[in-house]
């Protein structure tokens, strides 16, 4: 029998918890939300049944027959047997009988008309306004702007209002104010022109930032390698600062740097350039700033990985290339770069994945602006679901955005794993020294 190592399991438990609560659960919930129409107006719990003017217009657009529509609109107050019976109970048989005689089967579209009709009672006058209001309520047969807790209650009212049963389902569906399962989110994403825009923005963001990260990281690593030790230590520390700075501070400094009264604008004003916001002036400005902000953070990772990989190259190999006649540039080109193949691939794939999903620096700097010029996919998901000026947060649609990103990320990771041939990567190197 296999012995279970409880200590080992215990030590792993926090990791399991983190994976389950911070990775699996959000992914599963995202998948779940993506197929609902949850939003601020539906809430995330169940809902009531209420038909308002907006709802009415919506079902009108969906092709509800004119007659039914009229019925719904006009179904205000009806003097019918049920109402009269209730009236008899509260205000006496005589009052009910008199009212039946006066206004039997009458239809009123507003409460005012209904109350005016009640004033017509002579023999059995209802004197107080409050009582008259109460009496008017007894005849109310409208569906509009009324809240019903359950579907049955709502259907009962529809039947009572004599609405064609064929139209009930459509009305019920429209009147339901809670969330429902739907595939519309995905369809919407694939039809909206803005999602194509977000996708192109994301491609541009990932492509440009990644190239900057890798190329600049390589440049830093190689120059650090050739610099004398003390200088290179200072140099690498400086380039590592963006990574260790808190993102909010780091971006705030960029904002100070680029504001219309900031460093660039002030300095350039001395040579007669009119001050402007160098971050948000045009979309080109915004893109340059975004790539630099993210690039300097990412380049330090590349720098460290590439530096250690270069240090792992045996010095005798570098000496050999020198006596073979290679200049520094040729040494970097023919000896160092080819041996950085794996670190470069690793940084590329790792950064692709992290850039696809990261939006914090964009959120803090341009927030997708100017306009939607730098709105990337993940930021769009965030804006749609959790933070927008419209105020109607579309959790479902946002989750659908996020879910597509998760799917792309998983496909990309699997591709990279296959491409990297993971087993070969963790195998011991075959050549020594």
């Amino acid at each position: 029998m296999k012995r279970i190592n409880w200590l080992g399991l215990g030590l792993l438990a926090p990791a399991f918890c983190i994976v389950i609560f911070f990775f699996l659960a959000p992914v599963i919930l995202t998948g779940f939300f993506a197929f609902t129409n949850m939003s601020t107006s539906t809430g995330v719990t169940g809902g009531e049944y209420v038909l308002n003017q907006t709802g009415l217009r919506a079902i009108e657009d969906k092709g509800l027959p004119e007659a039914t529509l009229k019925q719904l609109k006009n179904a205000g107050y009806r003097v019918d047997a049920k109402g009269l019976a209730a009236m008899a109970e509260q205000f006496g048989e005589n009052a009910a009988a008199e009212f039946a005689e006066l206004h039997g089967d009458a239809l009123f579209t507003s409460r005012r008309d209904m109350e005016r009709a009640l004033k017509d009672l002579r023999a059995n006058q209802i004197r107080s306004t409050r009582d008259r209001k109460a009496a008017a309520e007894l005849f109310k047969r409208s569906v509009l702007n009324e809240r019903f807790a359950t579907e049955d209650e709502f259907r009962a009212v529809l039947i009572e209002a004599n609405i064609n049963p064929a139209d009930h389902d459509a009305i019920v569906m429209q009147a339901y104010s809670g969330w429902v399962w739907t595939k519309e989110n995905i369809e919407l994403i694939f039809t909206l022109p803005s999602s194509l825009r977000y996708a192109m923005n994301t491609l541009m963001y990932v492509g440009l930032t990644l190239s900057f990260n890798v190329l600049f990281g390589l440049f830093l690593a190689i120059s650090i390698f050739y610099l004398p030790p003390r200088t290179s230590a200072i140099f690498s520390t400086i380039w590592f600062l963006p990574r260790v700075l808190p993102p909010v501070l780091y971006v705030l400094m960029w904002k100070w740097f680029t504001w219309d009264t900031g460093f660039i604008a002030t300095t350039l004003s001395w040579v007669g350039v009119a001050p402007k916001n160098w971050m948000l002036d045009t979309s080109t400005h915004a893109w340059v700033v975004i790539v630099l902000i993210n690039g300097f953070v990412g380049a330090s990772l590349g720098m460290i990985l590439f530096s250690s990989a270069i240090k792992a190259i045996p010095t005798s190999m570098l000496h050999a290339s020198e006596v073979d006649g290679a200049s520094r540039i040729q040494q970097a080109r023919y000896i160092i770069l080819p041996q950085l193949r794996w670190p470069i691939l690793f940084v590329t794939s790792y950064q692709t994945l992290s850039l696809l999903t990261s939006f914090e620096y964009i959120l803090l700097s341009t927030d997708g602006g100017p306009g939607r010029a730098t709105e990337v996919w993940s930021l769009a998901a965030f804006h749609t679901a959790l933070n927008n000026y419209g105020g109607n947060l579309q959790y479902g649609l946002g989750a659908a955005f996020a879910m597509l990103l998760v799917i792309i990320g998983i496909i990309a990771s699997l591709t990279y794993l296959r491409f990297f041939n993971f087993r070969e990567m963790i195998a011991k190197p075959r050549i020594e020294g």
Binding site: H319, A320, S321, E322, D324, P338
Partner: protein, 348 residues
Amino acid sequence: MQLQLKNFTKRFGDLTVIENLDLTVNSGEMIALLGPSGCGKSTTLFAICGIHRMDEGELLFGDREVSDLPSQKRNVGVVFQNYALYPHMSVFENIAFPLTIKKQSASDIERQVNEIAELVYIGELLKRRPAELSGGQQQRVALARALVRKPDFLLLDEPLANLDAKLRLEMRSEIRRIQQETGIAAILVTHDQVEAMSMCDRIALMDAGKIVQFDQPSVLYTDPANKFVASFLGNPPISFIDPIVDSGALMLPGGLSIAIPENISAQSKVQLGIRPESFGPQFGTGLPGKVCFVEMQGREELFDVLLADGSLVRSIQPAGSGINVGAQIDWGVAADNVLMFDQNGARL
């Protein structure tokens, strides 16, 4: 081409590793820089190929002053201890690298690489990667890469240290053959005296940053400049005993006396160096002692003999003497081959 190193001084920080070293390598000859670890032999080699800068002194390749040239411009071929082959290139690309760097035409490169590959017998390995080669094959590739651009000098840094005993023997004669066929002057850095003696025309024996003696191997062996040279060369090593100086003769423990040569003034204290092959029964008697260790080496037997005064003398004899540990013996010394040193270790 002749190599001249004059007044070479090398410091690492405050530590002076080599001071005022002079070395001349004649055209076509192969010399060894031999010495114990840390004596500065590799430092000297790296200074000659330009990997280390010289702090003082000058280096001449023929008439060309190269002291301040970077290694790229010195035209030397170097074989490193671990071969330093480029793992991402094929054998062909490795050998062709010095030529590729010079942007020679592809056909030229191919012809030269094939030529050199034939010379070092690796013609059929050109498509492989270094990782797919044995140690000896990697060694040959490294040699080919060092030789392909016809360097003025070939520098070998402990080239055989990473090979097993059999391959080492084979590569020893191979390197010598290739060096002689190409006629390129070569410097071999090694701590192995057998390598140095068997491969080189001359040996520069180094100790603590200085060249102690620079001569042909046989001269170093038979006529060492001092006690260090005598003790460094020879396997099994030479033994030293302290005789008593008495009225113009040296009294050895046990009664044997050796006359002090006339050209040497009488000293209060003299040390005698006796090589194992100069001590044995074939030289008569006079140096009695007790056999305290016998080492069978196949063709020969090595005896450690403990003398009366407690010093140890080694003797090497043909196998089959039947003498065992504990035996009392009384052997003689070949007085002509005994080496005399003063108390500072200088040869008398």
